[in-house]
Symmetry: C2
Subunit: 160 residues, 2 copies
DNA sequence: TGAATATCGTCAAGTATCTTGACTATACGG
DNA sequence: CCGTATAGTCAAGATACTTGACGATATTCA
């Protein structure tokens, strides 16, 4: 009993939450590494999360804020960074003097293209690892989970 | 075409990475909300990530650093916070004048107990939503993915 | 028309988390 | 005892996010 303190007697990480977190982290680390290896050194997970809400043809900043589940200020700061990196540009909205349009630059579109390629690569790796059938089961379960959740999630903060 | 700018034409979030991220976020948000509702206002995801590596009987700080995949300084800062909240306490290691033992306080053990209860609650909710079979398939796939990954992950940073 | 109100974006300051670098104290090997 | 490795700390900076306050434009409606 006073032998080695016996770590790992409990705290067994085998509940859904831990497994999901683990898997998500692994995916993101792999993706980020590949993106940086592809020359997109500006890439980060937070920025990726935002870019995932910007369609290829651009969007209004306010529409972007609605989609991303954070405050408008957080979105703005991320946009500032991405604009400074030359990934995005902001133009005045001709139809609303208050608004601005967010649009990809050439550099941004190149990154999107590489991102899509890398996603497919990673997915192929997963299928190699666990088989096509189990991969399909994983996707089905995740989609069901998402669909079954509905609108139970919270409001975006900072929107006062 | 000049009608409504037609958002959501692309950027379809249906690849593994996005689904995993989404599911993981949802779980964590639900867990954190339940923990705070149970009176553990000090709870945060980063702290949870660290607590997940501390067995109920405590551990040495150095052992903890090995397990958590971050720098010793990050671990220390989280421990500082948790100690200040009264969740943990640090004692000198009687067997090594350099080391310290990290141990739960009564408050910390209470939180662990509530955490376990909440995990089961959430899991039950998932099973209600997607069925026992699909839930089992999800867990199997996640476990296979983890097992198939091996040691491909990077070293802990900051360990110079 | 024109005033009240709402929306869009910005500026500023603070918090949490994590990073790198430098440092002290203790342990251990020869 | 001495050199080196290990355990933990202190300090400073970067990133991501939060709340609060604000100016500019749009919309509503009396």
């Amino acid at each position: 009993m006073v032998k080695e303190l016996d770590e790992k007697t409990d705290v067994l990480p085998d509940h859904v939450g831990w497994r999901l977190w683990q898997a998500s982290r692994a995916w993101q680390a792999e993706f980020a590494a590949a993106m940086r290896a592809a020359g997109h050194a500006w890439f980060s997970e937070a920025r990726a999360g935002l870019l995932g809400h910007i369609p290829r043809n651009g969007t209004r900043q306010s529409a972007l804020i609605e989609r991303a589940a954070t405050s408008k200020q957080a979105v703005q700061q991320l946009l500032d960074g991405l604009e400074a990196e030359g990934v995005l540009e902001r133009l005045p909205d001709p139809r609303d003097g208050r608004g601005k349009l967010v649009r990809y630059t050439r550099k941004g579109l190149d990154a999107l293209r590489d991102g899509d390629r890398i996603k497919l690569q990673i997915e192929r790796g997963y299928i190699d690892r666990i088989g096509e059938q189990q991969f399909a089961a994983l996707m089905d379960a995740l989609r069901s989970l998402d669909a079954g959740q509905g609108d139970a999630s919270g409001e975006a903060p900072g929107s006062k």
